[in-house]
Symmetry: D2
Subunit: 293 residues, 4 copies
């Protein structure tokens, strides 16, 4: 008899029981090719008070079966993979009333510079799904991206502009509009959005929205002219982390105007401040309905 | 004029704006002495749609003022420190309606083995507070601990017991009760509990509750006999991560029977499975009221 | 004119100048298929005292060119990829006299259990090459693996055996040979070996050598019988980290008896002790010649 | 009998056997007070081919005894603590011929801004010692610091200067000398230096040398004027990571002109490039004698 099936003493139900840190290769279908991502997964079900343990090996078996199949038949997207695992978790853990799956993976996209040069840039994909058995198998799933880019500080720029104008009165006129020295830094911004049943959201679009909301995207390869171009553009577009989050929220409203009000959106931006040892941070967790008010 | 005070275009309020990853030494008063902890802090306020940026330097100034004072007048506990910072955040960010502070720090306690030997063991303290301005400055605060210990698997133990009994029928009788071979591993368990106004919760008690709920606590120094003692005791007490979480919940109900129903409790246990490359995980997030049902 | 080409004041040569943390997908040819790994790379050249800066963008261009080509023509192994990048670094950094490349990547292998079941297991590959211009382009390259497995403590097992024998004299005879309770834990072992010119070393062989030297390999999927089998086998095979390192060294001598004495070998084993909060560690850095003495 | 003392089969000596990741509070005497640091320690001895295992519990006992004493009698510096542990390791591991100890710890120093404001800044201390039994107990010890600061790119600054001059010919004259827009970023620089017998090296001096060699130190608290001042100063002082390392080497030669030629110096600087997703890196590992040539 399974120890897991024993009736526990001191009985409480548990919110999440499962396995974390499972790494597996995942074949994902893209418009023009199949890419192999290295996914890291966490997989949970809940546990009623009446059951001593959860059969954790079933979680890993499910992942294995699905990913074996993905070698022949690539998955369409990570959030659909999460959903499929969620359903199978409820099938095989007969005692569970809910299931949850999270996947993250490095991901690469070719990006073009203004000069026409192309650079393969790295991002992180995040996907998550939760399922409930007794609500007609209600599924919630979300897709997200983590994007590294650049922010330039608007506040230091204005204080510096005043000081330079005082020191160089002869340049006062052009200092009014010229991009001026400020601190800038590496920024990591996360955007996650719920994907309601019947809708599709493309991770590449989320990456584009984030990159368009930073002072500038960053690139692995920059020759001298590109580097000057990117640096100047970032300084013509100074942004607090607050601005980055708000600009993403604004773009989300336009891009996904057809999505229902209930859709949950999380935007988080963190700058590794170059003039401090700590980071600057801004976040909004909300629904499209709230944003539309 | 401050750039931060500008009226933003494309205006959305933000849930959290602040600074993360601030490290500072904190002097904490213990019954018999003052200890210096190295705290890592995250500090946030919310931001209304009408304000372009949050004055982040105020956050760091507040921390600095309080910790300067703690050199002369040590803080009583980390959750009270969080609360005090929360209040000052609302004082100095006049546009904010809520504030939030999180602190974590390495912490050490002397623990005695049965043999009488003493060992200084390391833990992590976690504290958090949130304040809301328009609810009579409603404060919520919590204290938590992260404890490293040991779990031994009850399931493998029973399967192994059957196999050994079949292979060694002459030892069948004593195999019924003798601790039997199983996989065991390092486990990290987190317990966090809300501290309601007017109550005190001692982090050392939380550590004790967690250590009493594992298969065994672990120790930095173990001579051969102590090592055998701890190993055997852990095998007399096999536990799934599910059991660890439930045993903590049971002990919390007894220890804190005077705390109100509304108190939020989070228990999370993760075992670095020795026979797998992934971890086993169990969690309950609930209130004392729910647990008492 | 390039700032990098300026003559520096206060002139010292530098040992390593380059870029770290570059992530890229790498297509690698395996006997029966092409696999895509997500590699993380560090790429360096030295810098003479006469040159102000190194042209870092050239490093990333080289990686990009080679990996673009690998889409059509997969690389044979990571250490050859390191070597090729090393050569191109010396070609394009005309001032450099040495170059160095390091790559690490998650990697997966299908492993069979005794029960015949198959499980896809995760490992880490490590590759490195260094080149020197003025020694007929002398190249050194190495391949390595990081393997997660299981160790069971021989010392606690013997002390426990004595105690159990004293407590259960009736079982004394079978306790002499039966696997007995001990602490066991997750172990991470690294094996790196130089690949001399004209030789090939297969990473899969290195993984096998490490797994054969642990108390037991670990598996992502284990049904109850497999779990008991693996647990028992690990207890029939108790190992200190010292034993793991020595057993690997012994197997290396046999497997690679045809490799020259000059070949450098590094073996490192770290156990996340289940009864302590710290790790146990053993390491040998040596040459095959030293080991053969 | 100890399992560790058994004669091993398949016998090889081992370079390092010990324990890693031990965390302990350490009381350190400073000129004007005693500070408590949270140290993380790795402790090793070598192991001859004739000894099966190292008695790891002795390592932790030694640390414990010394740190217990440090409560009453604070240690003078981390490198002397390493040395003392090294000696005791050789005393208690009678089979060992060498020992090694590494400690790292967060550390804080009050720094003054030009405006007179003071800010408590965080650093990392690193200390290491190795001892050899058969060379009259030859000891080598080193002290090091990890410092977070700021670099501004000289290359992008010059390209941008040319573009701005072409676009704003009326400002050509003042653009010749005015600090001009460039990318800047958080930088982490490590400086480690051997402390020969009879000499003392103060970690605070090493921190000062690193901060004087960056484009600018960074500060936790900066009001608007300080922020502009630091930003401008960093732009008047653009630096590649190569420059940071070389400037530190130059200052080391002057500050430690009385130290012998044999002293080993390691300098490493890594910038989290704001316009790239990867880091820029420069390193020199050498001796004072080599630098003096």
């Amino acid at each position: 008899m399974d120890v897991q099936n024993l009736k526990p003493t001191g009985s409480f139900k548990l919110t999440r029981v499962g396995v974390t840190g499972i790494k597996k290769p995942i074949n994902v279908k893209r418009p023009d090719k199949v890419v192999t991502l290295t996914g890291e997964m966490d997989v949970f079900v809940d546990l009623p008070a009446s059951q001593k343990g959860s059969h954790l090996s079933r979680n890993v078996e499910i992942i294995s079966e699905i990913l074996d199949r993905s070698v022949r038949q690539p998955v369409l997207c990570l959030e659909d993979l999460c959903e499929e695992i969620c359903h199978m978790l409820l099938d095989r853990h007969e005692y569970a009333s809910s299931s949850e799956v999270r996947i993250s993976a490095d991901y690469f996209l070719e990006k073009a510079l203004d000069s026409g040069k192309k650079s393969l840039e790295g991002y992180k994909l995040i996907a998550k799904a939760t399922a409930k058995r007794n609500e007609e198998m209600a599924i919630k799933k979300l897709i997200g991206v983590e994007v590294i880019g650049m922010t330039t500080c608007p506040c230091a720029m204005e204080t510096v502009r005043k000081r330079l104008t005082a020191e160089h009165p002869e340049a006062a006129e052009c200092l009014k509009t010229m991009p001026v020295v400020t601190h800038n830094q590496r920024n990591e911004t996360t955007l996650m959005i719920e994907v309601p049943k019947g809708y599709e959201i493309e991770a590449d679009d989320l990456i584009q929205i984030v990159e368009d909301s930073l002072s500038s995207p960053t690139y692995e390869i920059l020759k001298r002219d590109d580097e000057a171009e990117i640096t100047l553009r970032a300084h013509e577009n100074p942004k607090f982390v607050e601005d980055v989050v708000r600009d993403i929220l604004g773009k989300i409203l336009i891009k996904y105007e057809n999505l229902p009000d209930s859709v949950v959106v999380t935007v988080r931006s963190e700058s590794e401040e170059s003039i401090h040892k700590h980071n600057a941070f801004a976040e909004r967790v909300t629904t499209l309905g709230e944003l539309r008010k």
